[in-house]
Amino acid sequence: MGLGAIIQDDDPAAEPGQAVQSAPEIALKRNFPGLGRIADSIKQFEDVLRDFVTMSDGDTSKKVTRILQQVREVEPSVTVIGQIKAGKTSLINSMIGEPGLLPTDVNPWTSVVTSLHINTPSPELNVRAKFKFFDAAEWDKLVSNGGRIGQLAARAGADEELEKLRLQVVQMREKAQARLGRKFELLLGTEHRYGAVDDALLRRYVCVGDDEAAGADQGRFTDITKSADLYIERSDFPIMLCVRDTPGVNDTFMMREQITINAVRDSRSCIVVLSAHQALTTMDMALIRLIAHRQSREIIIFVNRIDELPDPATQVPEIHRSILDTLEKNNAPQDIDIIYGSAHWANAVLEGKIDEMTDDSTESAINWTRAAFADKMDSWSAEQLVWHASGVPALLESLGQRMYEGPVFEALQKSARQALNLAQSLDVVDQVRILESDGQLNRTMTPQQLDAELRKIELGAVEKLTHLTDNVCKDFTNRIDQSYERFLERATNSLIEHLQANGEDATWHYSPLGLRMLLSSSYQVVLKKMHGIAAEVNNETAVKIADLYGKTFSITVEGFKIETPVVSYIPPPINLGQTIALDLQVSWWKGWWQRRRGYKAFAQDFYKLIRAETDPIINDLKTIQIGLFRERTQNTLRDFLQEQRELLMSALASSEISMEEMKELFGVNAWEDRQECLASIMDELGIYAE
């Protein structure tokens, strides 16, 4: 962990005497080494694939192009979460270098999950903005009982909260009706598409409507909008990237919270935005817990608004210590990167308005730069200093690093292995031709026989995978059921002990941490086992197919092996960290407590309450998450088998073309070039495949 400001890059553009550029340009072109590295590695990989295309026959080239397309579609994504008014939207605007793009306000404003696709081609021609409305079922779920939070409140007997939710729902419905007409329900399940993005448009769909604001249209569709997708081109941004903005949690308007919580699942990386004046509250901890079973590499904490601290140089280290302390005490994942900064400063630089900052803000900026960039005070311009003080370059750097090591690496690895298998099969065919021209080839299989052999391998592999997965799932389900029962028993016993020792008046607190840890560790175990199974079956299959190559052509090619496929990323279960009425809503728990009388009532009701709270979590783990895993591993295997079948069959077919014909086709020299080329491409792909 480290202070963001410590990440300093020697920066070629920062040489003294640099010609005066407009401020935004300096800021953005300056510092994307992390993202640049991603762009470079993707480009290099693409070059290898392009070389591959140039030397391939039509059929192969189609296959390589498909892989190339897959690489071009790598769009790492990051979700920005945090409490209301932590400055998420401002931070996103400053990260992408467009200060005014997403509308912000002094009151909570963002109320729709907004995905900004930077440099990603829109899936539909000329569509730059797409707004999806809730479908009827989702809307009903939200408004019929206040969604999950409503259920929680109802179970905990939090009448006031429940009443508040009910009112919010009624208001939401009335507002939607007033703005969209009585038949607004017809809009549900549909979407609106636009060819351009502008402020007024966004205000209609993603902002909380403010009745007195100038535009009567403001917030018109917001209530029923589920998600917004915006496609933006930034030539100064080296890669494709998706950044998701979310409504803040801990809003008194509780409806939106559930939407945010679901959005967290869609991105691998998360930035948790905190507000410097109040670092890491229980609510922030709950958010971190929500994503805590991810690897810590996937979480970055950005402490925003340090511009509001009078003395950041002394206060930031204090805050840092306190955050580390809290994280440790709460068993949060280790090694989360914590970066300090101010989106406000970054946006001031981007707009070329650092002279217009308030005195307090300017003083804080000077105070912070003196501490964090003491060695650069003389060489950097004021813009550069403030830009770095804003922490945004450090954030992008850290984010780039994570994406480079995570999703980008994995995507390249997956594609490299596919390409390598393709090259291997071409190589085999070539070897076959050489043998044939030497009169040594012994073709032992007809296509029908090969097909039968392949079918045998396919059936065997799928069966084995299913069988092993079934066993693991059964184990997991038993294990979780047992320990769940034990947890409930322990908790109830501990409640009774408390009652016996302290009577009914002392409120009893029971932390659901134990259950959460238990579920989390069971999940980790099953995850590991599943990965093990997938690897075992995939490897075994790869060996069998390599054997089959040998059998098909009665040859052994030195160093020949089939690359095993990578099981693609499986998003972790969101439910694991989900709040349980007990640990978040203190008041609900107290209310529940005050309403109970008599030991029996306490114990029975408590058992029921916890059961109702946790059953969905357990079921989600047992069915959805395991199902997801089953599906992903099976799909990976199936795709791999399909790919290998095509390769082998076409190898067999193309080996019918004799060497003489090939030489005629390519020319003698070209043929030898091709061999060399193929060897070097295989070498290069090998680097990415490992």
Binding site: V106, D251, T252, D284, E308, D325
Partner: protein
């Protein structure tokens, strides 16, 4: 039965919401730690009297405390810290500085076990993130009777730039806490602390307006004797006489003094005349308690303002 003890006003809010700063503005001295990160102190109960401090342990035993060791007070074994000092505001009421809510390293029990002592609450909420569900949830768990004796202070209000934005924030917060507090006041406590003799700055900080409201609440609590009626046969509590040895000289206490003068001045009410009797009826209400001087000069501008403020405050609360 009017109160025979001083009303107790608790200072609450999320951690780092400006509670300690508020305490310092009220006291005019700086006895409490003021930190960006959560201050790890049990509730601190401040009362008027010769300097004395002790910690009340959870074992029910009081332990002497040297204020220099305040930071070392253990959260695990201490119920609260009690400090007596001759700070002028404490002549009027006791203050209980509560630890912040939503602090992950502080169990809510730490303040929950002292919450019942409070008659009214000054709730601090940070302007840039004002009034969140975590605050609303805790406040809803407090007795409803407390709401009319409590004020919501929107702190660091200077961090909201522009009149338009200021109005927007206050409008939203007022809507959301409708019925939950007697009133909502935007304040910049740092400004209030720096104000010194600069009256314009004091008024601008918002502290002046909320002082009047607090004064109202303190005296309503005494007059109504609710939530805790006074003891039979005892006179209603009155402020301690001022003492030259006092520390503090807080501007809030000074306003209180002026407001007390005004309060103790006889009020002349003219009742509507009954036509039939043809008699003139003029009644004079007697000063209550130990009355202050009967004649008040209104030459002092500030005092005039204060009187107006108070009248304004009254008419609003009716």
């Amino acid at each position: 039965m009017p109160m025979t003890r001083k009303p107790r006003i608790a200072i609450m809010g999320e951690f780092s919401s400006g509670k300690s700063t508020l305490c310092n503005v009220l006291m005019g001295a700086r006895p409490l730690l003021e930190k960006v990160t959560a201050t790890q102190l049990p509730p601190v109960w401040l009362s008027y009297g010769p300097d004395d401090a002790y910690t009340m342990g959870l074992d029910g035993v009081a332990y002497d405390l040297d204020l220099a060791d305040l930071e070392q007070v253990s959260l695990e074994t201490t119920e609260h810290v009690r400090i007596h000092m001759k700070s002028d505001i404490l002549r009027y009421c006791d203050l209980i500085d509560m630890p912040g809510i939503s602090d992950p390293s502080m169990s809510p029990e730490v303040w929950e076990r002292m919450a019942h002592l409070a008659d009214g609450v000054l709730w601090c909420t940070h302007a840039t993130q004002a009034w969140r569900q975590s605050e609303s949830g805790v406040w809803n768990s407090f007795p409803q009777e407390m709401r009319r004796n409590s004020l919501l202070l929107v702190t660091r209000f200077d961090k909201i730039l522009g009149d338009n934005d200021k109005a927007k924030v206050i409008k939203r917060v007022r809507q959301e806490v409708d019925g939950l507090f007697a009133e909502v006041f935007p304040v910049s406590l740092l400004k209030a602390m720096k104000a010194g003799d600069d009256e314009a700055m004091w008024i601008d900080s918002g502290a002046d307006a909320f002082t009047a409201a607090l004064f109202e609440i303190v005296h309503r609590l005494i007059d109504e004797g609710a939530p805790e009626p006074g003891e039979e046969g005892m006179p209603a509590i009155t402020p301690d006489p001022s003492d030259s040895a006092e520390v503090g000289q807080s501007l809030i206490a000074q306003s209180f003094e002026r407001l007390t003068l005004i309060r103790n001045t006889p009020v002349i009410k003219v009742l509507p005349r009954r036509v039939a009797a043809g008699e003139r009826l003029l009644r004079t209400e007697r000063p209550t308690g130990e009355a202050g001087p009967a004649v008040v000069s209104f030459s002092d501008d500030a005092m005039f303002d204060a009187a107006e403020q108070m009248v304004g405050g009254r008419s609003k609360s009716q």
